[in-house]
Symmetry: C2
Subunit: 136 residues, 2 copies
């Protein structure tokens, strides 16, 4: 799977996926392997959703390599190919790299600004890192 876009006006998983895709993924990440019906029932708690709609989107996620499908006798079971943590790890790394490649000093400066309100622990980490870099 290769994520294509990072959406600026969204938050969380909606930055990487469509709205329904994101909801479905979140359900699968916060539960066991599920059938389409299972997922639909979860979705219905918030808003009634057509079975076929859920199926189509889930199958597309399989095509994209986000979900894996295991076909049982009567109902297929779906689960994510990777954990939410792995996903966020991968994406944040990719995006950070892209940002550095694309903007370099600009990005670092903005990061510094952002650090004004950041966790002191992060600042400590940064300090350590700089020491380490200077020793080279």
């Amino acid at each position: 799977m290769k994520i294509q876009q990072f959406k600026i006006n969204e938050t969380g998983l909606n930055r990487f996926f469509g709205s329904l895709e994101a909801k479905i993924l979140d359900i699968l990440w916060n539960g066991p392997e599920m059938s389409i019906k299972d997922v639909k029932q979860k979705l219905d708690q918030e808003k009634s959703t057509n079975f076929n709609t859920v199926m189509t989107v889930m199958n597309r996620l399989v095509d994209k390599g986000v979900l894996v499908k295991r076909t049982e006798k009567r109902s297929s079971m779906f689960k994510p190919l990777f954990s939410k943590e792995e996903f966020l790890q991968t994406q944040s790394k990719e995006l950070t790299k892209d940002l550095m490649d694309e903007f370099g000093p600009l990005a670092v400066n903005h990061m510094l600004d952002a650090l004004d309100e950041a966790d002191p622990v992060l600042i400590e980490k940064l300090e350590q890192k700089i020491k380490q870099l200077k020793e080279k």
Copy 2:
């Protein structure tokens, strides 16, 4: 104007705009106010492009608030509403902020990794910043 997407598999302006949009913007950012014809001629140096295609895309950029159009007697003149520097400044800031908001410590850690290969000047800047933060 509000950029919606940051494309991961592209580079430069193509991360924010369509391919033709990006080419046109780049031309307008590296030259004076131009007519559609002027832009088309520039584009033709690389690849012949239909006049109407150029016009449509340029007008869409006006609609989006990226270009401004000044209608003359026979031909309208176009120029960007902001400079490339301003644009990159804004976008890198927005993206950095989003990255920090979305990933927090993860993003900082990745940034630190990226710093391994970074300009020593950046590292120096970082060090200054950290000193400053610690004094608070």
